[in-house]
Structure formats: C-alpha cells, structure tokens
C-alpha cells in the first residue's frame, strides 16, 4: 500500500473502482472466451447426435434444418448391422487392456520400486516407440501379419493394441508406484514381506486407483483406433471404426446413418470417460510430468 496523497485522498473511490472494473471485465472476457470455445467444440458433436435422429432425406440439406420429425429408423439400421463389429471392438479392447495391465505392472515395478540398471534408457526406449508414426510401420506390419497368417484376426488386433498402449501404461503405472512412500516399503521389508507379499499387500492397495485409470485410458485408445484396423482387417476382425467407414457408401445419402453409427460408437467411451474423469486427468497429467 503506497502512501495516499492529499489529491488521491479526496476521491478515494475512483482509482479503486477503476481497478476493480478492469478486473471484472478481464474475468468476464475470459469467461466469454471459455464459453465460446466450449460451445465451438461441442456444436459439431451436438449436430451429429441431432442428425442421427433425422431421416436421411432431411439430413443433408442446405440450409441445415433445425426442425424435423425425429425418427429412430437410422438407429434401427445401425443396431441391426453393428453386431459383429461391436463384438470385435469389445474383444479387442478388453483383451488388449488386460494384456497391457498384466505386462505393464511388472515393468513399472522394475522401473520404480526396485529400479534395474539402465532404467532411464528403458523408459526412453518405451516412449520412443510412440514417436514413430504408425503410417511408417504399416508396411512391415502388414507383411509380418501376412506371413504369420494373422491378417483379419482378432488376435492381431489384441497384440497390436497392447503394443500401442503399453508405453503409456508403463509410464502411468510407474508414476503411481513412485508415489508409494519409501518408508512403507522399508517397513514391509523389515516386517519380513517378500517380493510377492510386498506387491500384493503393500503396493497394490495404494496403486489400485491408478491401475483403474490406466486401464480406462487404454480402453479409450483401443476402442477409437482406426488405422491399424482399417489396414489389417476385413470382416473377421472388423471393429466399430470400420463399421463407421462402411456406413459411407459409394453413392446415395448416408449422413444420417453415419451420425447414428457414430453416436452409438461413442456411447461406451463417453460412459467410461465420465466414470473416470477425475482419475483420467490425474493420470494423464502425472504421466506427463514424471
């Protein structure tokens, strides 16, 4: 607080009011900007859901129609056609996530609680695999899959999705494990807990929320994956993203059908994200920092 001169003292309200007005208008400006950005991102999604309820004839018009008689006919078509696709997606997603967790847990343990020598190099190697665009790898992947008779096989997707998610899972689970207090592990060691007991009785209870959020992130990424599925599957392992693509025919109107399919495909991931939102943010930001 600086000294107030006689002149300022005469009108004490004026400078203070000016500052406050500036603060409020600054805050209001950011709020408006936030809302604009949020709405801008949400509008396309909203439009997609609205369009899903339109008949095909009313879907792709210019100017866009806001009033229409809603119908479930497109949804009926989607539900009748998506059966095998959603089944393949579910198997690939759940299968790959289970595989990821089974592999990532010991790996994260070996990189955090009892670090092996060269753990830094290992970590960097894991992250470096994400630096390669999958487009560059698709050629060799296709040839390998062909030779191994794994093309259009759900097992191929399980393996590849697991490989895709493993680096992220290892990083995330490792960051959760680093939060286990060192003293607790020493106390367990003094109490006579061997490695197995140390993991099951001491580490797992502390880390389990982290495991859940890691699993959910892997589910989201595996469910949404398109490129590998598109190039390596045809019918026997086609996933939901493939179903969406197949909703685009060579000719004819398709927007309403596509919207309906996309809406249905989004529902599981939205539910998963909603359930896990807090731990998702924590998991993603922690994985980045550590």
């Amino acid at each position: 607080m600086t000294a107030v001169t006689a002149r300022e003292a005469a009108a004490p309200g004026a400078p203070r009011r000016g500052r406050r007005t500036r603060e409020l208008s600054g805050l209001a400006g950011w709020t408006v900007l936030g809302w604009v950005a949020g709405i801008a991102f949400f509008i396309p999604v909203l439009w997609m859901v609205v369009t899903a309820f339109k008949p095909e004839s009313a879907a792709e018009t210019w100017p866009p129609q806001f009033t229409f008689s809603p119908t479930l006919s497109e949804f009926r078509l989607v539900f009748s056609g998506m059966g095998p696709f959603i089944e393949h997606s579910a198997v690939a997603t759940v299968g790959s996530t289970v595989l990821v967790l089974v592999l990532a847990l010991p790996a994260a343990y070996a990189l955090s609680i009892h670090p092996v020598g060269k753990w830094r190099d290992s970590l960097f190697f894991f992250i470096s695999t994400k630096m390669l665009p999958v487009v560059a790898a698709i050629g060799p992947l296709y040839v390998i899959a062909l030779k191994a008779h794994l093309l259009d096989s759900i097992w191929l997707l399980i393996i590849l999705y697991a490989a895709m998610n493993l680096p992220l899972a290892i990083w995330m689970i490792r960051s959760f494990m680093l939060e286990v207090p060192g003293e607790m592990l020493e106390a367990a060691r003094l109490d006579g807990a061997g490695r197995f007991r140390e993991i099951t009785e001491v580490i797992m209870p502390v880390v389990s929320p982290g495991l859940v959020s890691t699993g959910l992130i892997c589910v989201i990424f595996a469910w949404n994956e398109l490129f590998l599925a598109l190039n390596l599957t045809v019918t026997n392992a086609a996933t939901m993203p493939m179903f969406l693509i197949s909703s685009v025919p060579q000719e004819g109107l398709y927007i309403a059908h596509l919207s309906a399919a996309a809406t249905v495909a989004s529902v599981p991931v939205i539910i998963v994200g909603w359930i896990a939102q807090r731990s998702l943010v924590r998991g993603l930001s922690m994985g980045a920092i550590k």
Binding site: P181, L190, D191, G192
Partner: protein, 396 residues
Amino acid sequence: MAGVRYAAASRVYAKGARPAVDGLDLEIKDGEFMVLVGPSGSGKTTALRMLAGLEPLDGGRIEIGGRDISDVQPKDRDIAMVFQNYALYPSKTVAENMGFALKMRHVPRPERDRRVREAARILDLDEALLDRKPKQLSGGQRQRVAMGRAIVREPKVFLMDEPLSNLDAKLRVQTRSQIAELQRRLGITTVYVTHDQVEAMTMGHRVAVLSGGKLQQCASPRELYDNPVNQFVAGFIGSPAMNLLPAPLTDGGARLAGAVIPLSPAVRAAAARDKLTELVVGIRPEHLHLVAAPASAGSASAGSAPAGSAPSAGTGVDQALHGEVLLVEELGADALLHVRLTGDGDGTGDGAGRGGTVVARTEGRKAPAPGQPVAFRVQPDNVFAFSPETGARLAS
C-alpha cells in the same frame, strides 16, 4: 534382548566422497537406551539404517548380541523400527498393521491377536481403535500404532528414527517421557535417533554425539554437559548454547573484551605445549554471573551471584566482562540476556571479543532492560578452553 556393537562401521555413498558414516565404533549395552544425536548430515540416520539392514556396510561390521549381522537380511536381524513418518499401511486396519510382521512369520491367528491386544494395552490404545484405518486416527495415535507394530514383534533391539518430530510441541514433551518410561519397563535395547538435543538429554542412558559421520563423544547426558570433549559437543549440547568466543592468550589467562579470563595452569600448559597464541573460550549462559555495572573495577557484586562465589576485589586488572544488553528473552522463571561485549574501553589489549555477542541466563524478575550496560563475572572453573585448530578441549 542383546547389546549392539558398531565396529569401525563405514558407509560411503559415492566413490571419493566424504563417508556418510566414518569408522563408527560404538558399544551399546543390553537394555540400554542409546541416543544418536547430531545435526543434519551427521550420519546418525545412516548409522541407524545400517543397523536395520536398510543400508549396506562399506567397511567394518555390526554385531547384535555378539553375532555379526552385517550380511543378514533385515527381517532376520530380530529388530523392529519406528519410522519418522510412521509408515503405516493405509489399506489395513490398526490391528492388521500391528500384526503384519507376525503374519509374515506365519504366527497363528489367536496368538497374533493376543500379542496385538497386549501391545495396545501397554501403549494405552483403546481397543475400539484396533478396527480403524490409519487415516481415521490422530497424529499421536498413529505414532502409538507405529510403536505398537514394533513392540508386538518382541525384538532384540528397538530402532527409532526421530519418531517425535511429526508431533506438536506439547504432545512431543508428553510422548517423550512415555517412550522413556516404556523402554525402562520393557528393558529392550533401544537405539534412538534425533536432532533435538533436549530429547537426547532427557531420554538417553547414554548419548552419542555425531558430526560429519564421526563419533564426537559418547557419554551420559551429565558427562556430556559438564565435560565436553571438544568444541562441537560443547556448543551442541545445552540450550541455550555455550558461548564460544576466540580469545588471545595473555599472562594468567585469555583476553576477552578487554578483561582477562583466568585459566587454570593445566590449560595454560597445554596451550603452551601446542604453541597456541589464541584459544576458543567457552562459557555456559548460566555461568555468566551478572554484577552491578561498576564504575571502576573491584566493586562488590550484586544480583544473582550464587552463595559460593566470592566477589573478587579488583587488583588493577578488571576481570568483569562489560557489555550492552541487546535483547531480553523472557522464559518465565529465567530470562536470557543477549549482550554485545563492549569492553571497558581502557585501551589495553586488542579488540578480541569486542563486539562479540554472548547469551547469559539470569533471574527473570530482576533482568535489566535492553540498552542497559551490564557486567559479568565468571568462575575460572566454569571456563572451557578449546584449541582453535582442532576444536579439542585443552586439559580437563
């Protein structure tokens, strides 16, 4: 129950770096409460962890009950440790926390429950708490659960790593005496690490003072206080700390702020033997006796001079330390005076000690005010002399 022995135990973290623990030789008797005390980085916690088996030895060995346990796994050493942050398992109940070690040893359930309940009784832990999780307990209760976890194991040695540092001041004082009393009752050899010298003095049978990884002195609290073996121990033990000031040697003693502090012949001989021209003089705050600030040397002393000290008539050389009060800290029964030594301006000698600050303890109700000139007398017996190079105490 067994004794503990450190034989030239060493721990070095990085090649070529200063050892964290440097050739520690320490013998702890069976049933003794030994406190390891020292500032941060002194190696006390490392020494404790070496005993626990959480740190390997880089030299020497450690024995429990005569058996060399340097290479034995922590769980096989028959010890129990109380950690600074308690290290309780958050997902387990109090009873499960306390019984965990027994469960790892496959002790049958009824025996486990019995021992847990017994430990809870010894520690005054309400049985209702046994089914709660640690996060539902207060800090003091958690500390007792941590101790209960150690007691239940009935080990040969208790290890405690600053267990009181997370408690508030009042609880700390209370728990301090409870731990000391508990140890006396159970009679288990205890090694206790703290940085707080008050805890060390009040709890330990013997106290080992460490600095820079080396043992400075290991003795009873009284012995450490009255007979510190070097400048570090003298300045570390005792609160407020001993006043330590450099003072050049002169005839009959050392010159401090214009006055001559008398030194015993043994000290003077030791200084001459080491060819020292300057000493570090140490005087405890309670040994600086306030005298009425005299206009000239030799006036009778007043104030808080104890019955045994005879006010010495000046013989032309002023033996009182003169200064000006900077600050008065009220403690209730006592007061601590922070005094800047000014010397009496007679121009003799150099400025050694002039401008230095001392802390003196005086009676609370008769304390002078800040800014007042004061003078102190000190008995020759109460003056410690240390070598300025090595810090070792001269003569004894």
